[in-house]
């Protein structure tokens, strides 16, 4: 993983979030408080704005800085969760190599673990973790096989998509949608959707760069 890729990913994510405005907004309006798009927009803009500060950093330092920045700009539930993700990923990236996809997968998994801890949540609770956990698992599994780069990223996109869709039929037990009980059924979780969008965007970028 190179810092340059991180910066390109940040720019692409910002565009992808902006392109998902109406979907993210209406999902959080339906089962949350309607601010998830605004939060994600503010966060991704803040990262793109610090592009020049990040450019000269090592990938792990850049990830750490991104985490800190998200922590102080997003707020809400997604702020500390995404911040925890990046800071944990940074920590692993610093400790071990992330030149191989396996190394990146391990860092990603560490990030997801941090989200689980911070959110005291797991798969099946109708949160972003319903996307993050299956993707992390698939990423680690596939990088341990001889699957091609293309196969891996395509599979991650599929996993993200499936995870996102899986939240539709769940009752939420964490986050704001948990207050809704049965009424949350039939609605996709906004955080799951934004994570799926971000993961798909990064996968596409990685496939392009091939």
């Amino acid at each position: 993983m190179r810092t340059e890729f991180i910066l390109s990913a940040a720019a692409a994510i910002q565009q992808a979030i902006l392109a998902s405005e109406s979907e993210l907004e209406s999902l959080d309006r339906e089962i949350g408080d309607g601010d998830h798009f605004i939060n994600m927009k503010r966060g991704s803009a803040a990262i793109v704005d610090m592009r020049s500060e990040l450019a000269d950093l090592s990938p792990d330092a850049a990830l750490q800085k991104i985490g800190m920045k998200l922590l102080s700009t997003i707020g809400g539930a997604s702020g500390p969760l995404l911040a925890s993700f990046f800071m944990a990923m940074a920590k692993t990236a610093k400790e071990r190599e992330t030149d191989s996809l396996a190394g990146i997968a391990a860092a990603f998994a560490a990030g997801v673990d941090a989200v689980k801890q911070r959110g005291k949540a797991d798969v099946g609770e109708k949160t972003m973790l319903d996307v993050l956990i299956p993707v992390a698992n698939r990423f680690q599994t596939l990088t341990a096989t001889d699957a091609s780069r293309d196969e891996i990223f395509a599979a991650l996109k599929d996993a993200a998509q499936a995870g996102m869709l899986s939240t539709r039929d769940l009752v939420a037990t964490k986050g704001r949608a948990s207050f809704l009980g049965e009424r949350a059924i039939g609605h996709i979780d906004p955080g799951a959707k934004s994570c799926q969008v971000m993961i798909a965007t990064v996968c596409d970028l990685a496939l392009d760069r091939h």
């Binding site: 601010d35 037990t173 704001r176 809704l180």
Partner: protein
């Protein structure tokens, strides 16, 4: 959306600046990270810090001052503030007796305050408020939301802290008041988050949302509009049922504080009508309304609607409720 606003992105800071200017005898505003403190720093007491998304004014900054909070951290509208704000606020107001965070129980607020608490060098503790009985409590979920009862917690703990009580004692009182407090809200219209520019939810001309949250989150159920007494009857019943399931079932003759809180868009005339209606039902259950508060204290921008809060008083809570307070939004005794 029609709002008094220049640029939506500047709205929060402009509003905070106006607040600080209008109350400069009481509060001071610090920007970037954003937090507010008392104008004069007191001495030798536990520092009380609250905070949360904006849009609930006067909560929390309106409760900074003698007998209540030492600082407040305002997030974006309906979005929890971030840990850097809490850390800066804690640094500014810690008097060496520790910091008590008073946090409404929402995943975002809890996690942000939790991270601040972990990062904070000094001694600190947290009271989570969770008085909203609309959400049936259950151990494996996020639990109940913190709503209007938060004001009572902040007032009582604020009073105790002023006496020089230590951190653990302050936290214990906060937890106790929270446990003895139940709230239920109902919305007649939605609010509009300025940055979103459109109503958070759609609601028909003849509908109400029973159990709505203070961010416009859906509640227990969508219902047909009914007369006030019927609505209040259901709200009070929900609160009393919740107490029945708790460790402190109110006996006949139990003194209570009755708070009728407007969500921002309901005329005072209607809030007093709700108070009249709620008082009758509660007195019918043998409860004694010995303290009362009616007004817009924990709002949801311009939402039409109101919540009813019942706090089961004891001598300690009563004493701390009655003690002098001097903040922009709540003032008595000095």
């Amino acid at each position: 959306m029609k709002k008094f606003v220049n640029k939506v992105d500047d709205m929060l800071v402009e509003s905070l600046s106006g607040f600080a200017a209008a109350h400069r005898d009481l509060v001071a505003l610090h920007l970037d990270p954003n937090y507010l403190t008392r104008a004069q720093k007191p001495q030798n007491k536990v520092a009380l810090i609250s905070g949360g998304g904006s849009g609930h004014e006067p909560l929390h900054a309106g409760f900074i001052g003698y007998g209540m909070l030492d600082a407040a951290c305002p997030g974006h509208v309906f979005t929890s503030p971030s840990p850097d704000q809490m850390l800066a606020a804690a640094e500014a107001v810690d008097m060496g007796k520790g910091v008590l965070f008073i946090v409404k129980n929402y995943a975002g607020d809890v996690m942000n305050f939790e991270m601040a608490s972990e990062m904070l060098a000094g001694e600190n503790a947290t009271v989570l408020t969770s008085d909203d009985v609309a959400v049936i409590n259950s151990t494996y979920t996020t639990g109940r939301r913190g709503v209007a009862g938060t004001v009572i917690v902040e007032k009582c703990v604020g009073s105790l802290a002023e006496t020089g009580a230590d951190l653990a004692t302050c936290k214990a009182l906060g937890d106790k008041v929270n446990q003895r407090t139940g709230s239920m809200g109902v919305a007649l219209t939605s609010c509009t988050v300025p940055a979103a520019g459109r109503a958070t939810f759609d609601i028909g001309d003849n509908e109400l949302e029973m159990g709505v949250g203070i961010h416009g989150e859906p509640g227990r159920r969508r219902e047909a509009m009914r007369e006030a007494d019927a609505i209040v009857g259901d709200m009070v019943a929900a609160i009393l049922q919740d107490f029945e399931r708790s460790d402190h079932k109110p006996a006949k003759g139990q003194e209570i504080l009755l708070l009728v809180n407007g969500f921002g868009g309901t005329p005072l005339m209607e809030l007093y009508l709700l108070f009249n209606s709620a008082a009758k039902v509660l007195e019918g259950h043998g409860l004694i309304i010995s303290r009362s508060l009616v007004g817009n204290y924990v709002t949801s921008l311009e939402m039409a609607g109101a919540s009813i809060t019942v706090c089961l008083l004891d001598d300690e809570i009563k004493r701390h409720w009655d003690s002098p307070v001097h903040t922009p939004a709540l003032r008595w005794g000095r």
